[in-house]
Subunit: 345 residues, 2 copies
DNA sequence: ATGCTCTACGTAAGCGCTTGCGTGATGACG
DNA sequence: CGTCATCACGCAAGCGCTTACGTAGAGCAT
């Protein structure tokens, strides 16, 4: 009857003819064992395929080895790429990742009320998740450092892009090829909480027009819900205008995709009749030949991963605020505007 | 000096004027405390925002509350959708998810050698990860149940689609609209280990031709590496043939996208000059108007999540082998073949 | 030899919980 | 009014580790 199902440290110690203390030290790399003993124990552990129980170790030591990543949507291109960067950066560390998806309001509430990650992790990485003040104070209860990937959160470490600059680049590109009547398709969040990106990008857009001494026609700024459906809808509205634009900056590639769909259905040619530029450089943008402002998403995740490692390992990050650059990728959806009807040339 | 940084159960018990045992029982829902006491303790815990330490609980109880999900690529559409289904299915359970990405060979080896998830989880979900026999025996060392999502693995519980049937449906659709010279673009894995899908899909394809009494021209089966690049390459080879096909079944939508790109660059019209059908119903397929065989990816993940819950909670799943249906989604990339050069009609 | 410092190792006290078992109180029953 | 379940609860023994502290022996200088 009854051997333990799995070998524990006491068993190993016995077989090695030493105390548990030595085993623990040998395996963890702590000083206080001779090299000979250490090697012997390690070899034995290997042979018996023994592993220290992370839970027991963590309990005895008080915290270690795990972080939580919180994402609004596991499957969405943007968040998934971020997550990819984060786990990649963590690959050669000892940190494991506990994954939480807080998509709907219900899960959101559950996450902040119950704090399921509480006492389980050494740090938290939030992927582009706007947070209310109440929620921030709940987070503080967890008593662990937080880093924000793809946005900002108080004075917690973060990585992000300059949204205003990105939109500015998009609009400036259109100005550069000769457009004067440029629209912006902006996004509105699906939660009560607003992301900062929409207003930032609108500012950048506005500033670009201003810099080019172009008037800003309020009709040409349309806001729809986030996603390609919203983009399609927004483009319909723009086409319905008495004086439609000749080019449009979309809040994101996804919205640009929707806009392109509307244009195709309306039998308008891109870029001859209408230029479109997105923001993101979504993996599909290349396939659809969409001109866009590229932002390094995986890289943002990677930096977030490095930040969280620093924070966990050294208590703080050396340079906790990182803004990564964006740049225009010219493809086939932008060109000079068609000659104005009744124009001289 | 020295209060504990965080409230523990002993503190709570003291403040509540009861023993730890009662607190534990009250909080965990175990019998042996009166309703009155239970409520009182719970309220107090709430007020003090106390949470049981999952690690200590797990240690004392011997295992509980966490599963590992292993995916080849966090960011890839297919795996990300699977993962989404899994975490969604786990949302209203008490299970947390530990995420492991084993992308490159190095990480793969590390994962199977070190078994970082070992002693940390109650079960393992593998997302479409082909596994060698050696690796399987390593996995057995973990001593926890394994479920496979998007494939099979010995007699472990699994969810998947019928790959042969999917390819059969794709080819049959093309036969149905009148094609007789149909190619297949097949995929080859990027690892040494082969997925089962390519050969299965090839079988389904072959069988469909056979069922329609069409000859199978070996020239028309081309295999390229997985991904849209491979699809593009494969299509080039097909176009180089002395007698090119009039239609093609691609291993996946991604490969179909590549094929479409090649066709566009070759100035061939789709579907007038060439019909293309993919498999997956990738989120972008709709955007590119690609006819495809839809497979329920998120749903497969969801089912995998349910399976793992059953396995963890009841020790076994009631029906551990699930095959989900696929079906053709007709869009704009398939049409009858062009009239044969020199044909009578 | 004596005394001292090091090093390698063992002892044992926790870490924060769960749970089998024991106990007194309570109520049912004859 | 005695007898026995039953129930609510406390006691204390772990769960599998880490680590402060203690100790024996080796090495060295005196």
């Amino acid at each position: 009857m009854g051997k333990k199902p799995v070998l524990n440290m006491a068993d190993l110690a016995e077989r090695a003819g030493v105390s548990m203390a030595s085993v623990s030290r040998a395996l963890s790399g702590a000083p206080g064992v001779s090299e000979a003993t250490r090697t012997r124990i390690r070899t034995l552990a290997q042979d018996l395929s023994y592993t220290v129980s992370p839970d027991a170790a963590r309990l005895a030591r008080g915290s270690n080895g795990r972080i939580a990543v919180v994402t609004p949507d596991v499957a969405h291109w943007f968040y998934a790429s971020m997550l990819d960067g984060i786990v990649t950066a963590l690959h050669d560390s000892e940190l494991d990742v506990l994954l939480y998806e807080v998509q709907e309001e219900r899960e959101r509430r559950r996450f902040f009320d119950e704090l399921p990650a509480r006492r389980q992790v050494d740090a938290l990485v939030l992927i582009a998740l706007p947070i209310s003040d109440d929620e921030r104070s709940r987070l503080d209860l967890m008593g662990v450092p937080v880093v924000m990937a793809g946005g900002t959160l108080g004075d917690h470490p973060h990585v992000r892009i300059d949204d205003a600059a990105a939109a500015h680049q998009a609009a400036a590109h259109l100005v550069g090829v000769g457009h004067e009547r440029i629209a912006m398709i902006n996004a509105t969040g699906h939660w009560t909480l607003e992301y900062a990106a929409p207003s930032e990008r609108l500012h950048g857009f506005t500033r670009a027009l201003h810099d080019a001494a172009l008037p800003l026609d309020p009709e040409l700024v349309v806001t729809e819900r986030w996603g390609s459906g919203g983009g399609a809808e927004a483009m319909s509205r723009l086409l319905g205008l008495s004086r439609p634009p000749t080019a449009v900056v979309a809040f994101s590639d996804e919205m640009a995709f929707g806009a392109l769909r509307t244009l195709r259905r309306a039998a308008l040619r891109v870029p001859q009749d209408m230029s479109v530029v997105g923001i993101d450089d979504h993996s599909v943008a290349d396939m659809l030949d969409l001109t866009t402002v590229q932002q390094p998403v995986v890289e943002q995740g990677r930096v977030a991963g490095l930040l969280v490692r620093e924070v966990v390992e050294h208590g703080a990050a050396r340079s906790p605020y990182v803004t990564l650059p964006t740049h225009v990728v010219v493809r086939g959806t932008t060109a000079p505007p068609p000659p104005a009807p009744g124009a001289l040339g």
